[in-house]
């Protein structure tokens, strides 16, 4: 390793502490770059990355609790905090809601109703008159899933209701897409598309070419899942966000796709569990 490369690795660490524990993964990823431009793209994207460690996540969950109790204007008797899940597959909203539980208790809202499954929440709303809904999750990407839930809610609601949302992080374009369905949409870490919205115009085109080249070194299909579905992140989200939980599919797949074109495990810096995405 020469001094230039050493300095690139070293200089990113003060801002991205989490990478100190992922050094071998990072080095493997960087060494698979074919040009210095590609290397620099990876470093500049990582520089911009929002990684939420467990301590900071806990603080955001505290903020969710504060929002619900103090800012939403909701009444504990009518409030229903709801997750995004629609089946038995564990998801990030359940992860967040489970951590939210003791915090709600600590802040005096022990008896608030929390429902992890969205479809069940609608049933409860209809039967128990829990009509002040607040949707909670870790991350909103393109907004497609949220749109789906809203469609279901409008279809099945037999009551008038009010719905607000509180997310830890999310893509601004996804939030814009669905915000109109909510009387308030709170997101603590709003993100722009990393290349097409955030990067200076002069650098954009080259960055896109380089990212396409990097993505082309990944295995294009795994058990019928095509990488094109996740091109630049699901829905083209170009997200640079993760917590210690499951990395969102909105993130550039180069950071989490498990296999390279030779079907070798890449041991990437981020990990995403996705149905079927294993050889």
């Amino acid at each position: 390793m020469n001094r230039k490369l050493f300095d690139k690795y070293f200089k990113i660490l003060p801002k991205q502490n989490w990478l100190a524990e992922k050094e071998s993964e990072l080095m493997k990823m960087v060494s698979s770059c074919k040009t210095v431009d590609q290397e620099d793209l990876i470093f500049s994207l990582l520089e911009d990355f929002q990684y939420v460690g467990n301590d900071i996540l806990k603080r955001y969950i505290e903020s969710i609790a504060d929002y619900i109790i103090n800012e939403s204007g909701y009444d504990i008797e009518k409030t229903q905090i709801i997750g995004m899940a629609m089946d038995d597959n564990p998801d990030s909203s359940q992860w967040i809601l489970h951590q939210l539980k003791p915090i709600m208790t600590k802040k005096g809202w022990n008896n608030v109703k929390i429902t992890t499954r969205f479809d069940k929440a609608i049933k409860l709303m209809n039967s128990e008159k829990l009509t002040q809904l607040i949707l909670v999750d870790e991350f909103i990407g393109s907004g497609q899933s949220v749109q789906g839930r809203i469609n279901l809610l409008t279809e099945r609601a037999k009551q008038s209701y009010e719905i607000k949302a509180c997310f830890v992080a999310g893509m601004e374009f996804g939030i814009e897409r669905v915000a109109k369905y909510f009387s308030d949409f709170r997101c603590f870490i709003p993100l722009k598309k990393a290349i097409s919205e955030k990067m200076a115009e002069a650098k954009r085109e080259k960055a896109i070419t380089n990212m396409i080249a990097l993505q082309s070194t990944l295995l294009s299909e795994i058990n019928g899942k095509n990488i094109e579905t996740f091109h630049f992140g699901y829905g083209g989200a170009e997200a640079l966000y993760s917590s210690s939980g499951n990395t969102p599919n909105s993130v550039f797949p180069y950071f989490w796709w498990p296999y390279d074109i030779n079907k070798q495990n890449r041991n990437p810096i981020l990990t995403r569990n996705e149905d079927g995405l294993g050889l």
Binding site: F6, D7, L13, P14, A20, E23
Partner: protein
């Protein structure tokens, strides 16, 4: 806080350097990776500071290296730890020797 061998190497090298070291030096000398050097520097924030991309020891850092005897001078007796020192005695002042360490010629024990 646990001090590792790597911490000591880095602290001592910084102690001996005249005007600080760039982190790459530790890779050249010992093959320490960027994250390895970073973790030591993070751990000892009070002892190491960054001056124009060079790392130097703070006064607290120098004290820390000296107090822990990570560095030895030319004469090792210059650095006797406090725990082993007793009150200094005057020339010709009587003292009680350690009997086991006296030579048998001097020590004539009654039979």
């Amino acid at each position: 806080m646990k001090i590792t061998r790597i911490d000591i190497k880095i602290l001592v090298d910084l102690y001996k350097s005249v005007d600080g070291l760039i982190p790459f030096i530790f890779y050249q000398r010992y093959k320490y990776s960027p994250a390895t050097v970073f973790k030591t520097i993070e751990k000892h924030k009070d002892y190491i500071e960054n001056l124009n991309d060079k790392f130097v020891l703070t006064n607290a850092g120098k004290d820390f290296v000296e107090k822990n005897r990570f560095v030895f001078g030319v004469n090792k007796f210059d650095r006797i730890p406090e725990d082993f020192k007793v009150q200094k005695i005057e020339i010709n002042e009587p003292y009680l020797p350690n009997i086991k360490k006296l030579s048998k010629e001097i020590l004539i024990l009654p039979k």
